[in-house]
């Protein structure tokens, strides 16, 4: 009684805990409901986004299958909703309407001018070259760095040679970006004058991913040839 006379406004601990507990329970229910209601649509959206991106760089493809290029050298199919094992590189095999292999695509990333530039590139098995690329995400300066998507001279770098070495371990020639106007080899990327850093990021992203991808894929072509 005495303490109440001194501190008449004290809020009982039980009331605070009850309120916080009740609010958290209600909020938990709302979050779980929102997650479950949107789950299917979100997954479907993600699948469509990947498919659309792959079809852009492998125009002949009509359907895709996800594979992982294992660090030990093999390839392995990734089941629906599964993810690539640790250390493996995920790639997409695009199949044409008859179920034949149209091309493969993989994602690469490298630091650009403002942030990481993430690209998706297509590897053409018939010509052993990088046939095209597109940007998955970048924050490069509009009007400068983003010219990599429209600059005609830069796009003329593709197809870009990416042959595998004789021992099937690495690329025969690493893909490098060179200063504008100094390209002499078919595996060099001619940079855009004024957007050298972004051009270099594209070259490095493709090189890093292709070094891991191509040596694993080339010896396993038979496994990929027919749509599973």
């Amino acid at each position: 009684m005495n303490s109440q006379a001194i501190l008449p406004q004290t809020t009982p601990a039980a009331a605070m805990i009850r309120t916080l507990g009740l609010i958290s329970a209600i909020c938990g229910l709302i979050i779980v409901a929102a997650y479950q209601l949107t789950y299917d649509a979100v997954q479907e959206n993600k699948r469509i986004a990947v498919e659309r991106a792959v079809f852009k760089v492998v125009p002949a493809a009509k359907s895709i299958v996800e594979y992982a290029a294992l660090p030990t050298g093999g390839v392995e199919k990734i089941g629906a909703g599964g993810s690539a094992p640790a250390g493996a590189l995920k790639f997409y095999a695009g199949y044409d309407k008859d179920g034949g292999l149209a091309g493969i695509a993989a994602e690469g990333a490298a630091k650009g001018y403002a942030d990481t530039v993430r690209v998706l590139f297509a590897y053409d098995l018939a010509t052993s070259s990088i046939s095209a690329f597109s940007v998955v995400a970048m924050r490069e300066t509009p009007g400068i760095g983003d010219k990599i998507l429209v600059d005609k001279e830069f796009l003329a770098n593709f197809p870009l040679e990416a042959k595998v070495s004789a021992d099937l371990k690495v690329l025969a020639n690493a893909i490098v970006t060179v200063k504008h106007g100094t390209k002499t080899k078919p595996w060099e990327v001619d940079a855009i004058s004024g957007a050298t850093i972004t051009s270099r990021a594209v070259g490095k992203a493709i090189n890093d991913a292709a070094q891991a991808l191509v040596p694993s894929v080339v010896p396993n072509l038979d496994k990929l040839k027919e749509k599973p």
Binding site: M16, I23, S24, I31, A41, N45
Partner: protein, 215 residues
């Protein structure tokens, strides 16, 4: 009934004109400057914030009687974070492109000062109906604010409006408009415009008052 309608209308209009969060209270500047590079981004950011604002203010108002003041901030933040998460999932379900364009700013709605400000200063003191009407007004006001920036920046910076090309292929984009400095330029221009309007109104009222006094 008409008196109640008029009161609701006043409650709603407060956020759109007299207390506009963007142009009068200058609140929520972080998304205002960052995502308004296009009209679509501005509109979806505004609508998302408005939905969170309405739902949060409704729930804060419903629970106001049994929320001890010692824990009220925690309660508001949990409520706001809940609705932000729900909106986050909803946007992912509607369009991943839009989700990527808005980036981290969807999650940052949790700490948008307009929402916490409305919960603390208004919703915690009134019943759910006026709280939600006021929140809707604020949400619409914020959306109008974002759109005023987004439309101007998209027209000058990309030559398009809602993705539709306005000037044809010969248009040379004014690139700075879609860069961060462009956000400040356009915001400054709008603030100048509104304060000029306000000043003109005040001068007119003063002149009127003097005229009636002289008469």
């Amino acid at each position: 009934m008409s008196q109640a309608t008029a009161k609701n209308w006043d409650e709603f209009m407060e956020g759109i004109w007299k207390q506009n969060p963007t142009f009068v209270m200058i609140l929520g500047m972080c998304p205002t400057l960052a995502v308004t590079v296009s009209a679509v981004n501005a509109l979806s950011m505004g609508v998302s914030t408005a939905l969170v604002l309405i739902a949060s203010c409704g729930l804060v108002s419903m629970t106001r009687r049994f929320t001890p003041k010692e824990v009220r901030i925690a309660v508001y933040i949990v409520i706001i974070a809940t609705f932000v998460t729900a909106v986050d999932y909803a946007i992912q379900a509607i369009s991943l492109e839009l989700y990527d364009a808005l980036g981290a700013f969807i999650q940052l709605i949790v700490v948008n000062c307009i929402i916490l400000g409305r919960a603390e200063a208004h919703a915690a003191k009134v019943s759910p109906m006026p709280a939600m009407i006021n929140a809707a007004g604020m949400g619409v006001g914020f959306t109008i604010g974002l759109l005023s920036l987004g439309v101007v920046r998209e027209i000058f910076g990309a030559g398009t409006l809602f993705g539709v090309s306005l000037f044809g292929a010969s248009f040379q984009p004014w690139v700075v408009m879609v860069l961060p400095p462009g956000g400040f330029f356009v915001l400054g221009a709008w603030l100048l415009f509104f304060s000029t309007l306000e000043r003109r109104k005040q001068r007119k009222q003063r002149n009127l008052a003097e005229a009636t006094q002289n008469a």
